[in-house]
Each structure stands twice: as structure tokens, then as C-alpha cells.
Amino acid sequence: MQRHVRLALAIPLLVVAASCSSDDSSSDSSTPASTASSAASSDSNAPADTSATETSSADSGATSEETTAASAGAPSNDVSSFSVSISEPAAIDPGLSQEVEGAQVIRLLFQTLVSLDPKLAVVPGVATDWAVGDDGLTWTFNLSPDAVFSDGRPVVADDFAFAFARAADPDFAAPASYQGLPIKGWADVSGAEPSGAIGDEPVAGVTAVDDHTLTIETEAPFALLPKVLTYQMFSPVAADYVDTEAKAAAFAEEPIGNGPYKMSGPWEHNVGITVERSDTYAGTAGVTDSIEFRIYSEIATAYRDFQAGELDIARGLPPEEIKDAMETYGDRLLLTPTGALNYIGFPTNVAPFDNPDIRRALSLAVDREAIAERIFSSTLLPASGVVPSNVPGALTTVCDACTYDPERAKALYESAGGIPGNSIVLYDISDDGQAGLEPVINSWRELFGLDVEVRSFEFAQYIEETAAGKPVGPFELGWVWDYPSMYSFLSPLFESTSDVNNFGYANPDFDALLEQARTAPDEGAGLPFLTQAQAIVEKDLPLIPGTFGKDIGVVSEAMSNVMVDPGALWRLELIGVKG
């Protein structure tokens, strides 16, 4: 059940605006009185770092060109700082996190073994280098001796071994625990009866050879392991930090990490989180001295504060404001394609959706382009297939039945025998309104004379109603990668053994290709198999690809080198403040 929760990410960010409770947490607009300890030295760092990363940013170019001396509202002291909106995170303890709001904070506080650069290539993190043995099973990571936690304590291999054991432990109930399953012994720990103590059972495949050497053994050859390990859950945690219940509770509120920033104080729930640059971090330092996360329950409130000049970065925009905002803010409005797919899935073992031609006909009747452009004001992209085209190796051509072709749809529908009773059930997530589904319903009604019975549920209940084997008709859902790989789409969604394969889809050829990709000597060698597998799914079409996601946000004129990666993560450590 837990795994499904991450689907929540897939609802376009717009949805958050619809959530209730008007907790106006605009708080005071003054700069927080964070200590100005190393302001001078850090200022000299900033320009160098900024220019170093500038070239890799597609989005930031325009913003950094602006020369406006927007000093209005800038703090008068010499501590550089900016504010950014987030929703109340589910957790900022890396082990308990699985959503992007918490990840925004955690990625500043922690560094994993290997990291993703803004273009999502795997780069060294705490590990300076790594290699896999000839058997393809045993990975050795050499840890940097310079890595330290923000309290000065060195980061050692044991801290990773403990963090992994903790994340696997059923007592801890990490929501993204399943991500560790490729690691040998993980399933034994996570599948055991809860013992009452957290992290007491080591994961057999994870060994701290010495302080600076960690080996990880996988159940089967798994070329994607480094990419999986970039997930925030695999951040190091020293056992001392959480060895009593009180300490663990304090850690959840004010985690001690090894990243470029550290907490300035505990998490103020529903108000904010402030982080400041960590002096102990050995890697490229963060650009600004401190970053203030302001927690908003509604995107609209954050946007109003942004318009009033009280917030530097507003992540997400109320849908109705997007058109105006595009005109008002121009380049300062960032739209970044992300690794999200919104789709309408079929229960492929329920008639008549077991007939691929019916599925294709229903898909051909969907005008993705019009929906993305008109309903979502181009904040979404029409989907060309089942994997977002910015995922490395994904097919970029539009799949055969992923176009809008009313004539062909009609012909195919009729030759396939149509749908008995001319009526179907369509599942709708009530939280995000129905605007995106309506054109689909209208089109089906017009082309096939289909009477569509919409069943709406709030997200939590929706996930239960559409769990594998439950739905009796098409259902809307989304998927966001856990790590930037086609595998992170194809395996969980479509493999017959996956328990989040809600389609009941099973194709032995597809499963065989995924097995080949897993056991390939490295990620690159596995890619062609994944591409072939994608082609199979797009032919079988257990779902109607709808739209690919885009992250949206606006930044103040003072911001420079703003960058959002395709994982919808704002690279806040790289952002500078002008003036």
C-alpha cells in the first residue's frame, strides 16, 4: 500500500491549490536573524560557484542576464538569503521522505553516496569512486575521507550501513523502503516481523569494510544500482543521532546531515524551515548564506506573497493565474519538463478492456495536444508515449495510438465490436477537479456514443479503489520516476510481478526484456532492452498516455542562476542573490 502513495506526486502540482485549510503562513517578511558568522568568506565563494554551473542551466540563462538592480526589499545586512515556498513536507528525515517537498529540504541537508547533477547524470557524492565486481553483484564504494556531518563528526561507511538497515526496518516503516529491494538481504529485513527496535537488523548485502569502504551486494545483477542510491532515503545517518526515541524524534524535526546546508533551528510546522550554509561541507559550498523555506497550504497564497514582493521563489502557480503570469513575468516564469506521466489506465483483464483494439480506439480519441494547451495552458506536454521523452533512452517518436485521430478511432472501435451497453465507468481523482478528464469524456461520447459514469474519490480512497484487480473501468493516475531511468517507469508500472501494476498487464516478452536490462553489465548496455520494452508496451497500450509533467514557478528579479532539474527539484544550493 505504501508504494502507491508516491503516485500523489504525479498529480500536477496545480492540485495542491485545491487542498483545504487556509493557514496563511506568510509570517513576517523580514529576513530571519540567522548568524552572519562567515558572511565575508562565503560571499567570495558565490560568484565562482555560480559561473561554474551557469553553463549547465537551460532555464537560468535568461534570468541571470537581467541587470535590474532590484535592491528593493533586499536585506540591508550582508547575509545573503532568499525565501522559497513549499507545502508542509511529509518528513524531512531522509529515511521517512518520499515526496518532493521534503526532498527540497533534504537534498540541501544531506549528500548521498552518489549524486545527480542538474542534468541528472550520476556524479560522485560521498563516494569518490565506485566499481562493480566481475560477477555484476558486488559494488564497492570508496568514501571521501573529507566527508563530515554538520556537527563535525566524520561520515563513515557504518553510517550508510545503519541508514540502510533503518530504511529497511519494518519498525521504521520508511514509505520508500521498496527502493532497496534490489539489495541482497533487504527483503529479509523489510519482510520480517517488527521487532520493536529500529535499525537493529543489518541488511546482509551491505558491508562496511572499513571507515571509508562500503560494499553493496545485489540479489541479481542490477546495473542501475548507483542511480537508485541517489534517492534521498539512502542518505547517511549516524546511529548515535537516533539511538533513543527522544533523539530520533528530535532528528525528525532537526536532522543532522552531511550536505551543503544545515538546519538553523527546528522545523516550525506549517510555518517554515530555515537552513544555513554548513561550514563543514567539503564539496562545492552553497551559494547563499541561508535559505528560508516558507510553508504554504495553498499555492495561491504563496503566489500572492510573491506578487507582493515578500517571497523570492514561488513554486507552483494557481492554474487560473498562469496566463497572466506568463505575460507579467516572462523569463522569470520557469516551466521545466519533468519525469512525470499522467495517464488513463485500463484494467486489461476486464472485458472489453482486454481487447487491445478497444484500448487503442479510446486512446486515439484523446486530443492530448488540445488538453495540454487549452485546459492546462501549456503547463503540461502532450504525451508521446508511456515514458516522458526527457528520460534517457526513451523513444521520442509519438506512439502509434498516441495521436488524436477521430476517424481511425471510430473505425477501430467499430471493428473491435464496441463496448457492450455503450457505457463505461471512469475513475476520477476528486482533489484536482475534472477539467482534464472532461475533454476525454466529451470526445468518447461524441465519437462512440459512450455514456461515461464518472466515479470520483479523494486521493487516499482513490488509490484503494484503483489498486490492482479493483477497477472495472479506465482510471486516471500518474507516475513520477524515483530516479531518472526508463527502468523507473517500466518496471514498477508494467512488469507482471510489480504490485503497483494496476493494469493487470502481463507480457512475457516485456518481462524478459526487463530482466535483460537488469542483468546488463552497465546501465548503458541495458538501455536498448528498455527501449524495446517501451515499444512493446506502447503497442499493447495498457494505458492511455495523457500528458507529461512540467514544473512551474516564478522567481524574483534578485534571483540568479535558477535551475530546476527534470526531477522537479529546484537546485536551491546553486541559486544566487543579486545586488
Binding site: P319, E320, K323, D324, D367, A370, I371, E373, R374, I375, Q434, A435, E438, P439, I441, N442, S443, R445, E446, E453, V454, R455, S456
Partner: protein, 297 residues
């Protein structure tokens, strides 16, 4: 009792009432929409089916949120539906809920009020306490509670009607009760009782006809209030939902695109105001014309 002569009097008074004439015009228009929406909608060149919506016109160009034109008299909405067809069809939903809920409210209220007023004692006390408690809950809050707790899945007009009536019955109940209390003490009722008339006969022949004008004068503007309530609930997302066509649903859809397409809010809003104003004016007129006390004066 006064006979045919007085009936002419109140009809005459009504016909001369300025508010009544305006109400007739407003309700006439809305009424025609509601009675024959298909016929009215087919007057415009666009499709008369409010559910025939497409983001693209037949030539492939986008046709959502188009300003009013010769083809689409009231423009088109975000889904490319013809706004005129939807406004016309929305009238039926609004009237259906307004009239249905007002009727149900009045029937429940009058029956309870009559019983309470006629029997008195503990029945009266219970009905009055229930009425007090019901009136203490704000309409919107109570509706959210009832609709979200009791209704699973798509909400129907009937459920909205029941929800509204369940909260508004104390109004007519109080009127019916007080009229009843007054009448049962009148000499002719005592006379009827002395002549051996049954309770049933006394209530239906003497009490009800006297209570009715006051109840009707109360219930007429109530129709307007209930039409507004339906729109409010739909606007708040707890009333009717797409694909139901109602003014409230349309206003809800329109508010998010108000800045760019204000006409989508204007047209359903205009007819909503017309319908509500029509019933309130009619209620006023009836109140002035049917005033029983005045007549007896």
C-alpha cells in the same frame, strides 16, 4: 369565510402589483427555458445539446473560451461547450431544485406545524425544539455535513432537494403552527367541534385554508432562496457536479477563468439573479395580496 368576492379582490390586487408584473416577465423567460430548453437552445446556430462539447471546432481550430458571437451567442466555456445552450438547460435544473425543495420544505413544515399547533403539549415541544436546533445550524455548514456524510459518489438533484428541505422546514412549520394556534381558539372552530366535526375535518376545512396563504407567501421567495442555495453548493463543490448542467456548476467553472473570460460568469449569473429576483418579487406581491388579516380587518 369570505367567498368568491374576496378571491377576486386578491387576484385583482395581485394583477395591479408592479412587482408581480416584473416577476411575471422574469419568471416567464426562465420558465420557458426550463419547460422547453431544447427548443430555445436550437434558436441559436450552435449545437443545442449542452453536453456536446469539444475543444476543437470541426475545422481543427480551438473553440474554447470564445467570446460571444453570432454562432455562439453567449460564447463558449473552457471545454468548448456552447454557453447559451448551457444557460438555457441550466434553468431547468435550477427550477427543478428550487421548486422541488420549496415544495418539500413547505409540505414537511406545514404538516409538522399543523400537528404541533393542533395537538400542543409534548408533541409541540419536541417539534419546536427540533426546529430551534435545525435553525441553529447554518445552511451551508449543514449541507456540507449532510451531503458529504450521506452521499457517496455522484450527487443527484433529489439529494440536494432533500438536504435543503431537511434544514429549512422550521420556517413554514412555525408559520403553520402559529396560525393553527390562533385558529383553534376561534369561536367557529369551537362551534364546528360542538357540532361533532372530526379533527380531520376541522384541520382540512378550517385550519389549513387559513394557514395556507401565509405559508405560500413564505414559500414563494423561498424558491428563489433555494435556487441560490443550489448555486452556492455547486459553486462550493458540494452540490451538483459535471456533467450536470446547472448555473451553480457553470459559475464554479467560470470563476477560475474570470479574468480572461468574464462573460462565462456574467450569463449564468444574470439568469440566476433574474430567477431569484423573480421569485422574491412574486413572494412580495403574494404577501401583499394574500394578507388574510388585512382582508378580515
Amino acid at each position: 369565510m369570505t367567498g368568491a368576492a374576496s378571491r377576486r379582490t386578491w387576484v385583482g390586487r395581485l394583477a395591479r402589483h408592479a412587482g408581480f408584473r416584473i416577476a411575471c416577465v422574469l419568471l416567464g423567460v426562465v420558465g420557458v427555458f426550463a419547460i422547453a430548453p431544447g427548443v430555445v437552445a436550437s434558436l441559436s446556430p450552435a449545437s443545442s445539446d449542452p453536453l456536446e462539447c469539444s475543444l476543437r471546432a470541426s475545422d481543427g481550430s480551438y473553440q474554447d473560451r470564445m467570446a460571444p458571437s453570432g454562432d455562439h451567442w453567449f460564447g463558449t466555456d473552457s471545454q468548448g461547450c456552447d454557453e447559451f445552450a448551457r444557460v438555457v438547460h441550466g434553468a431547468r435544473t435550477s427550477l427543478q431544485i428550487g421548486l422541488g425543495a420549496a415544495l418539500l420544505t413547505t409540505v414537511i413544515g406545514t404538516v409538522l406545524g399543523l400537528i404541533a399547533g393542533w395537538r400542543g403539549g409534548w408533541i409541540d415541544a419536541i417539534v419546536r425544539r427540533f426546529a430551534d436546533v435545525t435553525l441553529g445550524i447554518p445552511l451551508v455548514v449543514g449541507s456540507i455535513l449532510l451531503l458529504s456524510v450521506l452521499v457517496d459518489g455522484r450527487r443527484t438533484p433529489t439529494q440536494i432537494i432533500v438536504t435543503l428541505a431537511a434544514q429549512l422546514w422550521p420556517g413554514p412549520a412555525r408559520i403553520a403552527r402559529s396560525v393553527t394556534r390562533t385558529i383553534v381558539q376561534l369561536p367557529y372552530v369551537e362551534a364546528a367541534r360542538a357540532l361533532g366535526a372530526s379533527n380531520y375535518r376541522i384541520v382540512t376545512r378550517h385550519v389549513l385554508p387559513n394557514a395556507l396563504p401565509a405559508v405560500i407567501a413564505f414559500a414563494t421567495p423561498l424558491v428563489g432562496l433555494l435556487i441560490g442555495a443550489e448555486s452556492t453548493l455547486s459553486y462550493l463543490g458540494i452540490g451538483l457536479q459535471v456533467p450536470s448542467v446547472s448555473w451553480g456548476v457553470m459559475i464554479d467553472d467560470a470563476q477560475s477563468v474570470y479574468a480572461n473570460s468574464p462573460f462565462l460568469l456574467l450569463f449564468p449569473g444574470l439568469f440566476l439573479v433574474a430567477a431569484i429576483a423573480g421569485f422574491i418579487l412574486l413572494g412580495d406581491a403574494l404577501n401583499d395580496s394574500l394578507d388574510v388579516h388585512l382582508e378580515r380587518g
